[in-house]
């Protein structure tokens, strides 16, 4: 039998171990954030947001280079992906929550979880086969489809749980005043669940915006702005995560610091999205 003293000492040791582990886990995060800011802040200048990248010699000769084409491409591809993903994801979420007895629901739930757990790179391969191969060229459209594959299962899942959190009495009230079922869903349940829906969509958006793997062989990348206004959709297009990868593995030191700057932009964007999502979640509960 251990004495009380031994047990109390053990108690204190375990407590300090827990604190220590927490610090060990969080320390790398802080180090990463600090390094990204320190290394990238110097390359974040006016040129970064207004010039296109061009060839490596452009940076080596000291001519202005930047990532305006990357930022534009990211905006176009990400929002197109959102536009493609929201109807499918929300539709599936509505099916799971508003038609709970539908016989396909167990299958849908398993398939959605499966899709959610699949590595993003496989979604890129799928988009490559479905879009790039028939089109015969890498394109922003293919990139958007790949990112939509990333967003869809997240939106479906969050939509389901957001709608489920609305009490059935709300639906019953709607039906009682004579609303048809679809108006109950669209005009009472979904507005009541709007914080949850927006939160889920933001999370999906931010998660997809940070993905580089599915874009490498769908939107491919491009050092220049397209010379045609549809060029972003129909031709190779740059995106921040994929450009960051290319810059990081390039041999040019000027491109490295631009990569760090791209990391800052990407981080700020993702943190804003997740911060808003967290804020809305707190507001909801």
């Amino acid at each position: 039998m251990k004495t009380l003293l031994q047990r109390n000492i053990r108690d204190r040791i375990m407590e300090s171990l827990l604190v220590l582990s927490t610090i060990v886990v969080l320390l790398p995060l802080v180090i990463i954030l600090v390094h990204v800011v320190i290394n990238g802040i110097s390359a974040l200048n006016w040129d970064f947001f207004t010039q296109e990248l061009g060839s490596p010699s452009r940076a080596m000769q000291g001519r202005p280079t930047g990532l305006v084409h990357t930022i534009l491409g990211t905006v176009v591809i990400d929002f197109l992906a959102l536009f493609l993903a929201v109807p499918i994801g929300m539709g599936a979420g509505i099916m799971l929550s508003e038609f709970p007895d539908h016989k396909l629901n167990p299958t849908l739930r398993i398939m959605n979880d499966t899709l959610n757990g699949m590595p993003a790179i496989l979604k890129g391969l799928l988009a490559f086969v479905l879009i790039v191969k028939p089109m015969g060229t890498f394109s922003g459209l293919a990139g958007a489809v790949a990112l939509a594959f990333v967003m869809i299962p997240i939106i479906a899942r969050t939509t389901e749980s957001a709608l489920m959190s609305i009490p059935w009495s709300i639906r019953e009230a709607g039906l009682a005043i004579g609303l048809p079922r679809w108006r109950v869903v669209l005009s009472t349940v979904m507005p009541a669940a709007r914080f949850g829906l927006v939160t889920g969509t933001l999370i999906a958006f931010a998660r997809a915006a940070g993905e580089a793997a599915p874009l490498l062989f769908t939107s491919f990348g491009n050092n220049y702005l397209p010379n045609h206004w549809l060029g972003m959709l129909l031709g190779p297009t740059d995106t921040l995560p994929q450009r960051l990868y290319s810059l990081a593995i390039s041999p040019y030191s000027h491109w490295h610091s631009m990569g760090w700057a791209a990391a800052i932009v990407l981080l700020v964007f993702v943190i804003i999205c997740f911060g808003t999502a967290r804020y809305l979640t707190r507001k909801k509960t």
Partner: protein, 337 residues
């Protein structure tokens, strides 16, 4: 929960109008039909998407799978896209399994410790901060962690960890050198360390949910028997939460298996066995990233698709296991941002 029922029902202009003028039966019937059909079609498209992924990957990889046979493909150790055109995926399978299992082992106890600390010890404000930071780890894009690994972590590890160990082994235990491998910084060890950081949030989130769902009476009962705080956790809380811990660990494993960019940037990318601890290696996602854009031979492309199919099968098994456990122990939530 406070729901603003007022705005959603009474305040809605459409609803007020509907009360005055109820819609016709045909309108209601037709609307409901169309709505149900559209919603079910959207839902079915997700099923089709998941099934389509399996079919497409198998179909595109079938040329390679037919040439080498599925078992021959996953057990073949030669990956030569240049001369012999022989493709065996075993090195990548091996690299994936080793890095993700090792990452899980490294991150398992710290991740659980964070969950215990935030759920049981930390004051509310501190727990909220730690929670947000842990979620932030999951939110940081993997390329950002990759660029940090390339320029900061890998050189630092080489100078301060790998080289000292390597020179020590060189001087006293030369037999260890082939196991340790070339300490250039980019290799299995660095990739594993980064992976173990990246998968922490998943174990932590599910463990914390499981701990939170342990009934208070459980804690009070063992407190009443005179247990110290740690003994309460050890004997009353953790056994109760083991399902969530297990599910979280398996979910983390799934994330580690599929993690692509950070690993591809740090693992050194070497397609031949044997792999060594510090030396370069490759995983299934990393080889797809590295070779897919440059693959010209049809068989090479097909082999990469077959690697994707193998990855799909493994990810499927791990995810189904996690889903089974989550359902069996009825863990709610567990959603990492």
């Amino acid at each position: 929960m406070t729901l603003d029922n007022d705005t959603s029902i009474n305040g809605s202009k459409e609803a007020r109008e509907l009360l005055r003028r109820p819609p016709s039966a045909l309108y209601r019937w037709l609307g409901d039909r169309i709505f149900a059909v559209v919603v079910v079609m959207l839902g079915v498209s997700i099923i089709a998407l998941a099934a389509g992924m399996a079919i497409v990957l198998y179909g595109e990889g079938s040329a390679a799978l037919r040439q080498f046979g599925f078992l021959g493909f996953v057990s073949g150790t030669t990956w030569d896209p240049a001369v012999q055109l022989v493709f065996g995926a075993f090195p990548f399978l091996f690299g994936t399994v080793v890095t993700s299992v090792a990452a899980l082992l490294i991150s398992f106890f710290p991740a659980i410790a964070v969950a215990i600390f935030t759920a049981e010890y930390a004051p509310r404000w501190l727990a909220a901060i730690i929670d947000n930071l842990i979620q932030l780890i999951a939110a940081v894009p993997s390329v950002v962690i990759g660029i940090w690994g390339i320029f900061v972590l890998a050189p630092w590890m080489r100078d301060n960890v790998y080289l000292p160990i390597f020179t020590w082994a060189e001087a006293s235990h030369p037999a260890l050198l082939p196991i340790l491998g070339n300490p250039m910084g980019y290799g299995m060890a660095t990739a594993t360390i980064v992976l173990s950081l990246m998968i922490v949030p998943y174990t932590t989130a599910l463990t914390k949910d499981a701990i939170k769902s342990v009934p208070v009476e459980q804690r009070e009962a063992s407190r009443a028997l005179g247990a110290t705080k740690w003994e309460v956790i050890r004997m009353a809380v953790l056994p109760y939460a083991r399902g969530g811990i297990l599910a979280g660990a398996i979910l983390s494993l799934g994330r580690a298996i599929g993690e692509t960019m950070a690993v591809a940037m740090l693992i050194g990318n070497k397609n031949t066995l044997p792999f060594s601890i510090f030396g370069a290696g490759a995983t299934m996602p990393s080889v797809i990233v590295n070779e897919f854009r440059e693959a010209v031979e049809t068989l090479h492309l097909s082999s990469l698709m077959a690697v994707g199919f193998t990855l799909f099968v493994i990810a499927l098994i791990v995810n189904l296991a996690a889903a089974y456990l989550t359902r069996k122990f009825s863990i709610k939530g567990g959603q990492v941002v």
